[in-house]
């Protein structure tokens, strides 16, 4: 038949009756969830590198413990539920990596492993897995560790350190419980920038964190509004208290402790942050304010983790109240 022959010639090797029937659009930006997660992990490499430089290779064991706990839980639960393989999307590994970077150097790898299990098991899978969690899983894991092993989580003496000063208490700890004068002036700022201070594995060097921030901003992965609002909030609120005679300089607030690490890597987590522009500003500012309140008036020297967790809880409310007006609506 004529039509038959014309069909075959028109379609070449393609089979009519088996064309793709698919909804529009027929074009895609090309990014995938996995690519985002792995890029964020890559942005953490400078932090890992500086940690190894300052604290020695021991930190890798701790990080590995956390990753193993997180990814292992993800894998096991997926297996038990006969769900599709979710390890390749990199999110569980990223959670483990983030958790491993926010515990003290010399922290027991086994405890890090427990933290990883809790982070993914309770922080993520209990909520329905990737995308459904309300709280940042890595911080859930860290909060659990902090509450379970308070002594070990504030023990900064295990680092086999290259520089003497950093195996002591953190700058924030010194500020709160020790000698505040030790951290004043330009030398302190310089030390904080380089990372020659005590602190969590990945959070010592502000420079390394800022390199990561640059990667996240250039690839447009992180919402710049969150980073900007949190850092700006830290400077403004810290400044207000500083001017009224309470607390250290605003720059110290931002550079010391986990503030920058939190602003760049924790607060910007897509899943647990608002997705409206106005909401992002409220969220970042809220974290900064809570952090500084806890640092200045609370019983603990550091409060970034609690601040982010608490603001995570408000994200549904923020999203709801900052919905952008429809196009053309007054």
């Amino acid at each position: 038949m004529a039509t038959e022959s014309s069909k075959t010639s028109v379609l070449g090797g393609v089979d009519e009756g088996h064309l793709d029937l698919v909804t529009s659009p027929h074009s895609h930006f090309g990014w995938s969830t996995g690519r985002i997660m792995w890029t964020v992990s890559a942005a953490l490499v400078p932090c890992v590198a500086t940690a190894v430089w300052f604290f020695g290779f021991g930190v890798l064991a701790t990080i590995a413990g956390a990753i193993l706990g997180a990814a292992g839980t993800e894998w096991l639960v997926g297996r038990l539920n006969r769900r599709a393989e979710t390890i390749p999307d990199g999110s569980a590994i990223l959670t483990g990596l983030l958790l491993g970077l926010v515990v003290p150097p010399g922290f027991s790898p086994f405890m890090a492993f427990i933290g990883g299990v809790v982070a993914v098991g309770i922080g993520k899978i209990a909520f329905g897995g990737l995308g459904d969690n309300i709280f940042n899983p890595a911080l859930v894991g860290r909060a659990f560790l902090q509450a379970s092993f308070p002594a070990q989580m504030t023990d900064w003496s295990h680092a086999t350190s290259r520089v003497d000063a950093i195996s002591q208490a953190t700058p924030l700890g010194l500020y709160k419980f020790g000698d505040p004068s030790q951290f004043a002036g330009d030398i302190a700022t310089q030390k904080l920038l380089l990372g020659e201070v005590g602190g969590c594995i990945g959070a010592t060097s502000s420079t390394a964190i800022l390199i990561g921030a640059a990667i996240l901003l250039i690839t447009r992965i992180a919402h710049w509004q969150i980073m900007a609002s949190m850092i700006l909030g830290g400077l403004v609120f810290g400044g207000i208290f500083h001017v009224s005679g309470i607390g250290p300089s605003p720059l110290f607030h931002v550079l010391a402790g986990g503030f920058l690490f939190g602003a760049v890597f924790m607060a910007t987590d897509y899943v647990t942050s608002p997705n409206t522009p106005v909401g992002m500003w409220i969220y970042g500012g809220g974290i900064a304010l809570l952090t500084i309140l806890i640092r200045l008036f609370g019983g603990l020297p550091e409060g970034v983790m609690y601040a982010i967790l608490l603001m995570n809880a408000t994200v549904p409310l923020i999203n709801r109240h900052t919905r952008p007006a429809l196009f053309g609506a007054k």
Binding site: F127, A147, L309, A313
Partner: protein, 191 residues
């Protein structure tokens, strides 16, 4: 400043729900919808304030002078139950709108241990009348805060793929646990 301290302590640092485990039943039950949560929070705050004042008077002007402190539990619960029922009737009569918003939550409050707990704590801590009042308002605010946060989260979780077995109370407990971890940041806060 001292009153402010009492307020913050009751609202945040020793949050009734998340730290002291008072009022868990309505916390689990009514935190499914944000609108209900707001109303419930307001109703609880209102009843807490009323109840704390009345029980303060009863404690200090009837039970203690009469030397019958052991009747505290019976007297308080009687007062609270009657008070709640009375308030409900009044609201129902006065305004249907207000009843819709607040009144329907009132029966739930009778057996809310947050109210009873508040009255007992106020007596235990030997607060003055004004302190009791601030304590009650702070506790109510804290209860509302926890309830509203939880309701927002639960409405969001309705869109999530929460494992079937954890849906409802299970995930509510886990969220509460994580919130409790977060509230630990306020531990030892002093102004």
């Amino acid at each position: 400043m001292e009153l402010f301290g009492i307020f913050i302590a009751a609202a945040v640092i020793n949050n009734f729900v998340l730290i002291q485990f008072l009022g868990i039943c309505p916390f689990v039950g009514v935190s499914g919808k944000l609108s209900s949560a707001v109303s419930m929070g307001m109703a609880v705050t209102f009843v807490m304030t009323m109840a704390s004042m009345v029980t303060f008077l009863i404690q200090h002007y009837i039970l203690i002078p009469a030397g019958i402190g052991f009747l505290q539990t019976v007297a308080f619960i009687l007062v609270i139950a009657s008070l709640v029922q009375f308030v409900e009737m009044v609201i129902k009569k006065v305004s249907t709108g207000l009843y819709r918003a607040l009144g329907i939550f009132l029966p739930l409050i009778t057996t809310n241990c947050a109210i009873m707990g508040l009255c007992l704590f106020a007596v235990m801590k030997d607060y003055s009348f004004i302190q009791t009042l601030i304590f009650a308002i702070g506790a109510g605010a804290g209860f509302t805060l926890a309830l509203v946060l939880m309701a927002g989260i639960r409405e969001e979780l309705e869109l999530a793929d929460v494992p079937e077995t954890l849906q409802g109370a299970g995930i509510t407990m886990i969220v509460a646990g994580i919130l409790a971890l977060g509230f630990m940041g306020f531990a030892g806060m002093k102004f």
